[in-house]
Symmetry: C2
Amino acid sequence: MDDAVDRMMEQWRTVRPELDPSPMGVFGRISRLNRLLEKHINSYFGLFGLEFWEFDMLATLRRAGDDGELTAGALLKASMVTSGAITNRIDRLERKGLVERRQDPADRRSVRVSLTAEGGRLIDEMMAGHFANENRVLEALEDPAVLAGELRKLLISLGDTSLG
Amino acid sequence: MDDAVDRMMEQWRTVRPELDPSPMGVFGRISRLNRLLEKHINSYFGLFGLEFWEFDMLATLRRAGDDGELTAGALLKASMVTSGAITNRIDRLERKGLVERRQDPADRRSVRVSLTAEGGRLIDEMMAGHFANENRVLEALEDPAVLAGELRKLLISLGDTSLG
DNA sequence: GTCAAGTAGTTCAACGTTGAGATATTCTCC
DNA sequence: GGAGAATATCTCAACGTTGAACTACTTGAC
């Protein structure tokens, strides 16, 4: 069976037969999957009144361990958005009562962001369902580890080896 | 060797050992790859003075075949953005002289968008280099068709089987 | 033929991000 | 210990997207 990307590749073969469009088989699919999955997963977050990025920030804080606290800069690096956006996002989560800011006593330039009790409760409540939701999509694969392994090779070759 | 997603999964295993974070092995990686690849590929488009979305629209018109002409609505469906954004994007490509609008004689609600001579020349000039660029990233894999095949399974299970 | 419903595209206010500049603090080196 | 570079965060104007309302045209039912 063909998917939308197969059709695009076929179009290229027709109009530019001398080109080999096979890289689209990987990159076109990653792009489409990313958008479709984001939409799919979003509907789960909606049940808890959260946007994707809100879930992502709470989860980043939660898994950061210990006290579930990170600097604004660490959240910035983890998020792949720009500094202005992070300030804005922390603002909004703070207004919602899910995180709180406090000054780092050791470095007063730094702002430490942590989950509130409510924020911690919310993300803990969501995680199991979130992974279950993702696992349902993976049922289409015989062995998800094959896919995960190939994706890891690409990430490593692109240098994505650290969280910082 | 570990990548950034391995580290995130390890964090989860530490703070919530009862959860199985393995779905991140696929979904976390797709998300990160998507952003990294977009950045990587963008630097090639920059050489031609184009943004990613501009390349994407020109390529969509080019591979649409025949006369390289599509309605605004077809571009809309192909692009995964909203209607206001498409109007805006066609406007800007038109101002750059890369595409042109004309009214569909058969249905006067419809706008047909086509590549100008310059737009066609530009996209034809870019495609070979673009695929070569992507192929360089794929050198990290022994057989890209394995990855492409797994990704196709996911897309099909999510119903992404048509261009419309 | 006419009217209601449907479809194609545009407009525009609200909203979020970008990214450069501003502010405050810390580090480095003499 | 003081000057300048570096770092952490915030501010804000410019810009692009969203999505609902709008205009224009077409289709279908009677």
